[in-house]
Amino acid sequence: MKSKKIDKIINSIGDLPTLPTIYMRLSRLLSVQDSSIRKISAIISEDPAVSAMVLRIVNSAFYGFSKKIGDLQHAIVILGLNEIKSLVLATSMYKLVKQFKASRTFNMEEFWKHSIGCAVSSRVLAETANIKNPEEIFAGGLLHDIGKLLHAMYFREEFDSVVKNVVETGSQMFESEEKILGFNHAQTGSALAGKWRLPRETINMIAYHHLPDMPEILTKEVAAVHIGNTLCIALRMGSGGEKRVPIINQEAWDVLNLKLSDLEYVMQRSTKLFEESISSMEF
């Protein structure tokens, strides 16, 4: 389906979910040189849920401080700006997923875990392959299936049929969606990300995470999310509704320039980080 038609579908939805503005404001602030910790802290403190999460994470066993840290500015210094950015996006996404009730066939908690699993696996791949912006790849991985959330919200019946069809046939979810809805979640998800004015590269990571529909240029970012998605499904980190592990595109693997022997490290480290992430963000 043409992207214009997808836009039309997206535009026909009256109350599109919004990504809390805090993430975009923070991204803008971090992109300029002279952003001060005080300014960053001021933005974060406007959202009590995000502030609480930042403090909870910095005080978790993971960081192992003996004294409790109660001050947001102090927490930001310890975690670092990139970590804060990923954390703010994850918390925003968490609020979004939690907001609405699960459909009969789709488990939102499993979906949330799948999103975190893909974010973490993609980031570990990116770090191992020495890609320069792992936190952007975390964002792409976290949001890669956001289209499914839209379908679950606004195309309830069709979405239930899609989930049923995947279980019955073992086909990939985007194939069942194309058959039943006429479009897939990578298309609607990337259109929504466009509405949210997310960076071009984030939109591409969402749009091309399946990769049978090749982008003109296969970037490392897109390749990392494509492979991260397969890894988190293979490791059963939550579930986005797939019945079988999606096959990795060989070209995407080649783009990352990793050795096969790197995979075991990547998978073990991803599993560890995934478990730490979900234990600090209980559903």
Binding site: A61, L231, A234, L235, I247, L263
Partner: protein, 122 residues
């Protein structure tokens, strides 16, 4: 020497190297004999794996595998056959499937026995 996950530790094991958390801070110095209290505090302080004297971690894995019955191994293989679609001539998928199988076998072994006890006595 052998690196063990903290979930595989037993009281009485001896640290071959100091146990450190992810920041490199020493939590317990080398040479200490582990107690249950130590093992619990590793969890609290974010230590994920430690180096133990006179343990070969490959041997631990091998012994775990041997302890598994054919039925369990077969059922894991069957499950993965269904979970992974055919991926002929895709070495990346082959490797992923191999690693997932290894992880699943280890999990099954951990549920069925405490093999590390035996090795310690050897």
């Amino acid at each position: 020497m052998g690196i063990l996950n903290i979930n595989d530790l037993k009281a009485g094991m001896v640290l071959a190297q100091s146990a450190v958390n992810k920041h490199g801070t020493t939590i317990l110095a080398e040479g200490n004999v582990l107690t249950e209290k130590h093992i619990n505090s590793f969890k609290t302080w974010g230590v994920t794996e430690v180096d133990i004297k006179n343990i070969d971690s490959d041997q631990v894995v091998k012994k775990e595998m041997e302890a598994l019955s054919d039925d369990i191994v077969e059922s894991i293989e069957r499950e993965l056959d269904e979970f992974f679609p055919p991926f002929e001539a895709n070495p990346v998928m082959g490797e992923i499937c191999k690693i997932v199988k290894k992880i699943r076998l280890r999990q099954a072994a951990n549920q069925t026995s405490g093999v590390t006890d035996e090795i310690e006595k050897d």
